[in-house]
Symmetry: C2
Subunit: 464 residues, 2 copies
């Protein structure tokens, strides 16, 4: 039985914040505009620009993934994803939320024979070299994830891995240790897959990296380690349904987008903290951080005018960051919203025993559980923030399971598209990263990319 | 031979940013004020308020730690730190920077017989329960870190661990599996240590949690896993020396504080991103995040006036976050500075082989190394940001070793004290977290903490 995520936004509104928050009237104004936003999204979806909506309905890919996972069952001790950004963050979020904690530290029996799951989302040689040295390559699957097949970081990793596989296993055998997740027709990886006969899964052309977690990008690794893929997609479809209404106050994604947009543009709060009160959900906050930043941080609006817009998402972890960031959240500038990710039912809990009945500072803990303490701290922090006039809201998951995570992914993806409409920017492009890529190519000597002139500054301000 | 951290701040200044950055004239003005700041810090140090300066000179504690580590060598497979905030972040930073990556995944021989190092800096039962189930308690040391001994999270963990140790090992034997790091004379943990005969290391009363990494808080776990404690302290002392001058442009901590302060207060950039171009340094950015936020985020200035000040630190990781945050950094509001943590010499590197000479999008990578690609991306990103008018600076570590990490810790700690003076706030207190603590106690039924009245709001804005 599916239970929905509950969204509590009382502490975003002025009545709870001593007049500091948003007025329900402004939200009502935006609710009018939201009807138009919802029509625009429906139109874009029909035009095929918003492919992520369709992923949870694509039975074919799921069947192919399931078949592959079933065929290869028992063959791999380690699955290594080579990917960065949108090719990695969703998979990490899935692993952290839906597998037992510290999965890769568990032995084979604790893992029920399922493989470890490594995601190499950086190119630091000090991380990659020792991992490659440790793997039994004949029992490892490398999933190379890049839509274009030109992502420098991922392709550099691929060249290193391929060379090592060929040298260890031979010119032919290496191919069965590799799988690609890439464009269905175009690009370098697709070309190599076709010419070398390597299994390849598709990323639909109308699905961008940061909206791809429910494509083969996230689902293939998920299926390989035994995560409940059907549950994920069911949760995603349920959230899609909840967000079909153009009544803003009934639409959780619409509300989330509207509240954040108003907080930024009308209440001076451009910093959007996502604070998970669960170790399992911290990586979801990191996945959200890409989605929100890359989609909304834009120089130009849709008419081409220069606007330099975009809120700054920040990930945080409760209770840990109460001892790091909450001092600032409570007393610093009124420039933030805090979204709590909370869990209603702790699947695992630990009773707190006594031991020192005479020490008052310990005795009150006895008889509670760790989960109760965690929840008490979350509610207390929300209440303290509200009483200091700080906007905050809570997304309460019924539990941490595939269904709830599917709901959450879909909620944030749809909210991002709505927010793009509110901010009047294109949430699907990322033109700002091109210059850095070209300058990197120039430094790496890629033909056609000349090194640009150094800035015409004589003076060097350096202290050594 | 000690090599210094190099600080390049060219890209903070208007000449490199098309007029968008800071003017050298404003920096020169602040250099005048800095002489007074430096005198004030010297005064506070003499008055004994800034105990962190003295930690790198305290031979006694280091000898005690070394003796304990040597006595217990070979007794423990796992060291588990129970601590949160300043009791955890420095230790995590040390582990990630100075031990081989994924230390806890390595087997005993790869660890050279040294113990794993777990830091339980949260109270999520889903993390803690399976770890406790897995440990061989007779071969585990628990280091309970809390200055007051009243930190709810840490003490709840302690009660759980103590109960389990007593039940497994007996009423007496449990004591040799536990060590405390706490106030030398006062507080709950000190009292228990004395009455039960448990080994306890001191946190000097004038050293706050976020300035404690070079006390026993960080040094004891470091010594237990074989990190070069002397190198750390030597680096810290060297940085202290460099920061003894009141000439701002020769003082790296002074410059860092001054540039961030000017960027916030005069250039509209209150978001201070710390972007490590090294997996090993990402946790240092997290440690910095506490230091900067909790020290500078303050409601009142030193005269008691209400100011609601404080920049927001953000941690980021290169090259990874080029595919997540750099779009926003390049095109969003001009509200950020980016500080790159860079490494001059990669201790480990991987050559990128060829394999597809006909595919131009791959061929240019051949003959380079992963480390070169990482460095090229960092320099390209800095250059791209500058050309978009975005302030950024680089701290270049000669290598990732104990000496350089010691320098870096001390640089940021001293910079935080300077920044407190520039912002005119007390960098050593954290009054804003008290309310949340009291509300938590009330929810947990601690005597003397009544539940405050619920906010007088009738309407509940909840969507389910």
């Amino acid at each position: 039985m599916m239970r929905p995520i509950v969204f509590d936004y009382n502490n975003m509104l002025d009545a709870n914040l001593g007049g500091r928050g948003l007025s329900p009237r402004r939200l009502a104004d935006l609710a009018e505009r939201f009807r138009e936003v919802q029509r625009g999204v429906a139109r874009e979806r029909q035009e095929g620009r918003l492919g992520f909506f369709d992923l949870a309905h694509d039975r074919d890919v799921v069947e192919r993934i399931r078949a592959y996972a079933s065929e290869t069952q028992g063959r791999f001790d380690d699955v290594v994803v080579l990917g960065i950004g949108g090719s990695a963050l969703g998979t990490i979020a899935l692993r952290e939320a839906l597998l037992p904690p510290r999965w890769n530290e568990l032995d084979a029996s604790a893992r029920g024979g399922r493989p470890r799951l490594h995601v190499l989302d950086n190119i630091d040689p000090s991380t990659i070299a020792p991992l490659l040295d440790r793997l039994d390559l004949s029992r490892t699957l490398f999933d190379v994830v890049s839509k274009s097949g030109t992502t420098a970081e991922t392709m550099a990793q691929f060249l290193i891995v391929r060379d090592r596989l060929v040298r260890t296993l031979g010119e032919d055998a290496w191919r069965s240790q590799v799988v690609f997740t890439t464009d269905p027709d175009h690009g370098v990886l697709r070309r190599i897959a076709t010419s070398e006969g390597i299994t390849a899964f598709p990323i639909p052309p109308n699905v961008g990296g940061r909206f791809s977690v429910l494509s083969a990008v996230g689902l293939l690794p998920a299926a390989l380690v035994g995560i409940d893929v059907d549950g994920l997609l069911e949760g995603a479809r349920a959230m899609e349904q909840r967000c079909a209404t153009d009544e803003l106050t009934d639409n959780p994604a619409g509300l989330f987008a509207a509240l954040q947009y108003l907080a930024d543009t009308e209440a001076g709060a451009p910093i959007h903290v996502m604070m998970a009160y669960s170790d399992r959900l911290y990586a979801v906050a990191d996945w959200f951080r890409q989605l929100w930043a890359e989609s909304l941080g834009k120089r130009h609006d849709r008419s081409g005018a220069e606007v330099f817009r975009g809120p700054t998402p920040v990930k945080a972890l409760g209770a840990t960051d109460q001892h790091s960031q909450v001092q600032l959240y409570m007393e610093g500038p009124f420039d933030k919203t805090i979204t709590f990710l909370a869990v209603e039912r702790h699947a695992v809990d630990l009773p707190i025993p006594g031991g020192y009945p005479d020490i008052e500072a310990l005795a009150y803990l006895e008889g509670h559980t760790l989960g109760e303490l965690l929840d008490a701290e979350r509610v207390a922090t929300a209440q303290a923030l509200a009483s200091a006039g700080r906007m905050n809201m809570t997304l309460l998951l019924p539990a941490i399971d595939a269904n709830a995570i599917g709901q959450l992914f879909m909620l944030f993806q749809i909210a991002t598209v709505y927010a793009g409409a509110f901010y009047d920017v294109d949430p699907l492009d990322q033109p700002g990263v091109e210059l850095g890529k070209r300058l990197t190519y120039a430094r790496m000597g890629r033909p056609g990319f000349e090194s640009p002139a150094a800035p015409g500054v004589e003076e060097r301000w350096v202290v050594a």
